[in-house]
């Protein structure tokens, strides 16, 4: 039961840090002015056009596709797989499980492997491509190590050393309803949860800020209409 309490406290703290940290950054981004019109052109001339441009960037990584097919392949595979995996994990946070989550269960499981493959591809580039090796700092490698370890420990729970998944879910639901339950103390479970806690904590203080940051970049989210609409903000509004 000690483990259960320790992990519960860590989970609460990590959730708080993640939510407050990201919310704080989002508020800062939103409040920081964009004094000049700087969309990278050709850019859409309407708001709807900008929404379409951003949708393509967020869903299919359009610019990255133009830039480098290998990075795109591994990066996109990782992100899409991660989205499926996260979606699949919803089943541990709800009772009853939504039909759509149940339906996605098998895809989510295969996605675990795709996610790892993507990550390993990205990591390989950091060693094999000389210029990517040059720009990689220790934290870039550690970030990949962390994600790979999360993926591996997750797959280990499923395929290597089964845990009492029902008990694990009971623990997680207990966490959500402030009714603490015993946590199965299998090594891969503890590892998996511990690493996820680390990921949650570093999210708002690392390059993972590209997730909220992406939506705020004036180079992509501004409408190309400076002649038609007078734009002022920050020092240009004074």
């Amino acid at each position: 039961m000690t483990l259960s309490v320790v992990y519960a406290i860590l989970f609460y703290a990590a959730t708080l840090l993640l939510v407050v940290g990201v919310a704080r950054k989002v508020i800062i981004y939103a409040r920081t002015p964009a004094p000049l019109k700087i969309p990278v052109t050709p850019a859409p001339t309407t708001k709807a056009g900008v929404v379409w441009r951003m949708t393509k960037e967020v869903t299919v990584f359009q610019s990255l596709f133009k830039a480098c097919k290998w990075t795109w392949l591994f990066g996109w595979m990782f992100h899409v797989a991660l989205a499926l995996v996260l979606f699949r994990h919803l089943r541990y946070f709800q009772e009853p499980v939504w039909a759509v989550v149940a339906l996605m269960q098998p895809f989510g499981q295969y996605a675990g492997f795709a996610m790892l493959a993507g990550l390993l591809g990205l990591w390989a580039r950091r060693f094999l491509v000389d210029r990517v090796r040059y720009i990689s700092s220790l934290s870039d490698h550690l970030m990949l190590a962390l994600l790979v370890a999360i993926g591996l420990s997750g797959l280990a729970i499923k395929y290597l050393a089964h845990t009492d998944i029902v008990a694990l879910k009971t623990w997680m639901l207990g966490l959500m309803y402030f009714d603490l339950q015993p946590l199965p103390s299998d090594i891969f479970v503890l590892l998996h949860l511990g690493l996820v806690i680390v990921l949650m904590v570093i999210f708002p203080i690392s390059k993972l800020l590209h997730v909220p940051g992406l939506f705020f970049m004036p180079t992509r989210n501004q409408v190309d209409n400076p002649r038609e609409v007078r734009h002022t903000a920050g020092w240009t509004a004074k």
Binding site: T41, T45, S63, L64, C68, R131, Y134, I135, R230, H231
Partner: protein, 500 residues
């Protein structure tokens, strides 16, 4: 400073430019002359490096981040994916890894992290954060003057991170602590006292234009006017001052005059605002950006014109198109039928659409033409009313005026265009090595159309591109006079005296 260096070699028959293996510090010796005290002070910066400049630089960085959503998100979000790494012409031309956009950004990001992020404050080694010191300042001065702010990297960044913004910020910080660049700051001083980058006074300007009128009349037998300070003219034309004297710029100016002449639209230049260029953008100075733009608005109001049209100048068009309305707008005193400002290419295009110009394409039959998209026009502005009009309209002018046109390889034109190598405040002799090496990708693409199509004329619509190519073309064994003004091609095709 002007040490000998080898011009990169061009290859025969390659479609895509090879990405080189990097060579650490191969361009670390490249640094522009620092500004003299008087050049800095005229722009409101300290004359020389101030005491405790380290602290002041860090403070200024904080102010800039607080004032720019772009800078803040750019510094936070890079994941070092490497998508931009092989997209910079300076990296391709020099092999110096600090000329990879991500590495250039990191010169500044490492300081931002150290002083403004949790990870950098507590785990500097882990995230590549470092203290602000003299070696950092020297590195900034060198490598932020090896960026032409062309935005090519931002096209390929999955988030749209624009190194131009970061290099502008770095130059702003260096100016703020008294370590400015001579070329940009001296020129901006001249502009604000005399009215143009050249320091060409009113009298000399009027003389130059009178001579030009005589020359054109001798050549064509038609009295084409090049008016200055004519109150009540319909159009105020703002051109880069290089158009008054440099080759091939002046041939473009002659062309503008022929267009106005045949269209029968009255126009004037201004001796007070005789400069389209606004180098304030290159050094990231908002105050100066606005001051220089204000001169043009004042001249337009003083002369009582109905329209403002901007000549062939890349960054000037970015400032005019993207920033004028913000900085010195609204332009409610102008004719509401015309967007303010307009590009000369938009103006000429409209005239052609309306059949107002008689163009004889055969007049350009000796030219086999390709078109160089200038970075600031391609990636930071627009022409006409659809996205990408900045690619369509200039080419439409060429094909309306000439029979032989060949585009360069698609990965080197439109928004993928390669910088000429001399933009962003680098067009100075003390930076000749980086300029020539940086021109390599464009020269490579040019070589392909020269070999395949016998191209003998590269048309551009930017004063900096034109001046830069006059140096780069001979360095790569092309004839210097290949570089041509767009309105020279148009002007040569106009049949003067055929419209009344």
């Amino acid at each position: 400073m002007a040490a000998k260096f080898d011009t990169p070699e061009l290859f025969k028959n390659i479609e895509i430019i090879d990405t080189p293996k990097y060579e650490v510090n191969s361009m670390v010796h490249s640094s522009p002359y620092p500004a003299k005290a008087q050049h800095n002070e005229k722009l409101g910066f300290p004359g020389k490096l101030v005491d405790n400049w380290e602290e002041k630089a860090v403070t200024r960085l904080g102010e800039l981040v607080d004032g720019s959503r772009a800078l803040r998100t750019f510094l936070d979000s890079c994941v070092k994916c490497g998508a931009c790494a092989d997209k910079c012409h300076y990296y391709l031309g020099t092999k110096d890894p600090k000329n990879m956009p991500v590495a250039r950004q990191d010169l500044l990001r490492s300081i931002y992290r150290r002083y403004y992020t949790f990870a950098g404050k507590h785990f500097p080694k882990l995230v590549g954060a470092r203290d602000m010191d003299k070696s950092v300042l020297d590195e900034w001065y060198s490598y932020f003057h090896q960026c032409s702010q062309c935005r090519r990297c931002s096209v390929f960044c999955p988030y749209g991170i624009d190194t131009a913004e970061i290099s502008m910020a770095a130059r702003d910080i260096m100016d703020t602590v008294g370590h400015g660049q001579k070329y940009c700051n001296e020129i901006l001083g001249k502009l604000q006292t005399v009215g143009n980058n050249l320091g060409l006074p009113e009298k000399a300007l009027i003389n130059t234009l009178e001579n030009l009128e005589e020359e054109v009349e001798e050549d064509t037998g038609v009295a084409v006017k090049y008016p200055v300070d004519v109150k009540g003219a319909d159009v105020l034309l703002i051109v880069p001052s290089a158009d008054f004297f440099a080759e091939p710029h002046i041939d473009g100016l002659i062309g503008y005059g022929k267009v106005f002449h045949q269209a029968g639209i009255s126009w004037t230049l201004s001796s007070y605002a005789s400069e389209a260029a606004n180098f304030s953008m290159f050094i990231g100075s908002g105050d100066n950006l606005k001051k220089v733009a204000q001169r043009i608005r004042d001249a337009a109001e003083e002369l009582g014109v109905k329209r403002i049209i901007v000549g062939e100048c890349g960054h000037a068009w970015r400032v005019a198109y993207s920033f004028w309305n913000t900085l010195v707008g609204p332009f409610d005193f102008l004719d509401p039928n015309y967007p303010a400002p307009q590009h000369i290419v938009e103006f000429t295009y409209d005239l052609i659409q309306r059949g107002a110009l008689n163009l004889d394409k055969e007049a350009n039959d000796h030219r086999r033409i390709t078109f160089h998209d200038s970075c600031n026009v391609a990636r930071a502005s627009r022409m006409g009313n659809i996205p990408g009009g900045q690619f369509i309209l200039p080419r439409a002018l060429i094909t309306a005026s000439a029979n032989h046109f060949f585009d360069m390889s698609p990965e080197t034109i439109h928004e993928n265009t390669f910088c000429c190598g001399g933009g962003g405040g680098l067009l100075t002799d003390d930076l000749m090595e980086i300029r020539i090496k940086g021109a390599m990708p464009r020269m490579q693409a040019l070589k392909q159309v020269v070999d395949e199509h016998g191209v003998n004329s590269m048309v551009a619509i930017c004063a900096i591109c034109k001046a830069q190519f006059s140096k780069a073309l001979p360095a790569y064994q092309f004839p210097m006079d290949m570089i041509t003004s767009l309105h020279q091609v148009v002007g040569d095709a106009i049949q003067l005296g055929t419209k009344t």
